[in-house]
Symmetry: C2
């Protein structure tokens, strides 16, 4: 199962969750481990930080780990980069592959998921008129990557339209089906959508596309660390993901995992000495760079393993689901996905009251107002003609952060 | 003048330099500034480190600068990456552009020169049969990049053959001329060659290619910090370079500078949100990454400015030229370029005595022997059927390091 029992498509109507139960789950976790956000994370806590999702946050301990790697590198640069690095990277890849459910031989490091997506896209021999099916909720940078392919090779993008609110995972499957045609060459699907923070039933979508002989690529930018992940069970030809988001690795840690069939066809974006030799050799040497973030990825996985990854994910999911319930109720807004949280990972996008939305002509203005006037850091996103905030929940996020957001917006909406 | 008076093609026969004068120049610089390598650089000085050229070495002070940037980023990740970064990168680009002689509006950061070369190559609409002229001494990763274009688009590589020894810069010009044909689409030329460490008269080569309507791209991987550089005076369509080599910036700082005409045509390898918007916007946001190395580049330029960059380059060039003279004399070997050092920057490739070369079946074996048995770190390169060591000279390199290499090799060659 690519997604765990509480996130699977069949679970949507079976796990209505009482907001108080969710809240108690978060509080129990934090009490059990004595979570002290300021001791663990280097964030400036004079701000209410509700945007882990965009760039993550790296614990002090992992920054120290990265600094240790850098010191080692700088002491003997040639020994480190020229001799030891391939084995060190294979070791890191082995640890990461185990975590995401694939084989290290089919896993390459990239700087971010977009780079991995781009590398895979560049490895397809496009024909003019080839169609790519993409969710309308797909990540903007991925859409732009396809636009470049449209300009260069005449590739055509077909949107799979999933209007909000989404009532069941099935809607994603049906939308992709509806956008698929005999000319579909690739289905490129988000595992967790960025603007709307919804978990997509990628295994089912990939399986249906494969049955039709269509290439499949998953954008799992938000997946590792926020949902249980078994890449090989999804069975896509390519799977790109970040570890600097929900696994809290230092900035610049991402992966591209490919199927056995694609291993010999996929190359990193920058061609270097090992072109044509081997997938791992090519990804492990993409020219001189600082590899210390990649090498620190296993430490990030160990960091949260002390709490238990399943417990960390459950705590963050409970906080995201509670945020959706609590804010929707407080603001009197309809949720964009089932209130039981069955389609959420560690984030929730919630509609902003219309009366507040009208007071700022753009999403960026509301976001700036929250940041500047209330020291609340949260992304504001316009989608489907409505304005949303996207709440992120990681170990440094507290229920009171969400309550504060709720009150600031509620009071501003009332006051307008 | 893209290359300074002591490196220009016209200077070859005019500046014979007495080895003792060169040596005194190095000693005078080190005495004047009280250079204490171990205080400045984090290298493990229990090794004789003669390979600055491959990956550079970053002074303590610049690593601290990078750590300060990282602390700032981690305190407010969204504020830093999402709001402040574009202006910070433009500031860094302005400082770097001034140093390399171009405009910040036409300068984008990359992780390494190979990535910049690849980005430029990907921005050309190749036609089957298009020819690319490349030096036989070109960097291996660049050759591999062209091999990928050969596989994907049917591009054909034509080698400009410059046999060793090279007696004058003219030989590079003539070799490129000889390899050029009416089908030549691109001349891709190294500014300082990697295996042979020779300064190439790129301005003249670019000018001749432009007269024939050929696209020009310079691989200046070793140029910034080791030779005076005025990119816009060279006039190439693209110029890629590293700052982590001879400018000692943290690992992962490189640039791609393009001409005005190419500014709207060149995109970074990874397409992100700003695709199609603007050259600077596209290069400044290539997805989430750690930008602290790029932001530390101005500090690297300031670090050496305290000594005077011209003085630093002259000191390192004198040490490289002295190394060539002294080692060729000690080993009884013919130099591969004029003994006056007029074709050298901060490195010199010197032939290893035949008797020693025969004792190790590969270059890698000799390199391993020097490292493991004598704690000498230096690259060993086979070129033109002969074996060479490549000596690098930066502020942490001392004449006695070179003497030690000389004696170890001399004694081993005698003893065999």
């Amino acid at each position: 199962m690519p997604v765990g029992p509480s996130f699977g498509s069949s679970a949507v109507d079976e796990h209505p969750c009482d907001p108080n139960t969710l809240l108690r789950e978060v509080e129990a976790f934090d009490a059990q481990f004595g979570i002290d956000a300021a001791r663990l994370f280097p964030l400036d806590f004079s701000f209410t930080f509700l945007n882990h999702g965009s760039f993550g946050s790296t614990p002090h301990e992992l920054l120290a780990e990265q600094a240790r790697w850098r010191d080692e590198l700088e002491a003997r640069p040639i020994e480190f980069l020229g001799r030891r690095l391939p084995a060190l990277l294979r070791e890191a890849a082995t640890s990461v592959a185990r975590f995401v459910g694939t084989e290290p031989e089919r896993l390459g490091f990239t700087v971010n998921a977009t780079e991995g997506i781009n590398a895979f896209l560049r490895s397809i021999a496009w024909q003019r008129g080839d169609e790519v099916v993409l969710l309308d909720q797909a990540y903007g940078a991925v859409r732009k990557s396809l636009l470049r392919l449209e300009h260069e090779f005449g590739v055509v993008v077909r949107d799979a339209l999933v209007p909000l609110p989404v009532r069941a995972p099935r809607e994603f499957i049906d939308a992709v089906d509806a956008a698929t045609s005999p000319r579909t060459r690739l289905v490129l699907i988000d595992h967790v959508t960025s603007p709307t923070a919804l978990v997509v039933p990628v295994a089912e979508i990939v399986s249906r596309a494969r049955d039709r002989g269509i290439i499949t690529l998953v954008d799992g930018a938000h997946a590792p660390g926020s949902i249980p992940l078994a890449i090989d069970e999804i069975g896509a030809d390519g799977y790109a993901a970040n570890l600097h988001k929900w696994c809290c690795a230092p900035k610049g840690v991402a992966i591209l995992a490919v199927s056995s069939a694609w291993r010999s066809k996929v190359h990193p974006l920058a061609t270097s000495h090992d072109y044509g030799r081997d997938f791992n050799a090519e990804f492990d040497w993409q020219g001189t760079r600082d590899p210390t973030a990649w090498l620190s990825a296993p430490a990030a996985l160990r960091f949260f393993a002390r709490f238990g990854w399943a417990a960390v994910r459950a705590r963050n999911h409970a906080l995201a689901a509670w945020s959706q319930s609590a804010l929707c109720e407080m603001w009197g807004e309809e949720p964009i996905s089932p209130l039981d949280g069955s389609m959420l990972a560690s984030m929730a996008a919630i509609r902003v009251p219309e009366r507040l939305a009208r007071r700022h002509s753009t999403a960026a203005e509301l976001q700036a107002w929250l940041y500047e006037s209330h020291r609340i850091e949260i992304p504001v996103i316009d989608w489907g003609g409505l304005r949303h905030v996207r709440v992120s929940a990681h170990l440094h996020t507290k229920p009171q952060d969400v309550r504060r957001l709720g009150e600031v917006i509620e009071s501003a909406a009332r006051g307008s």
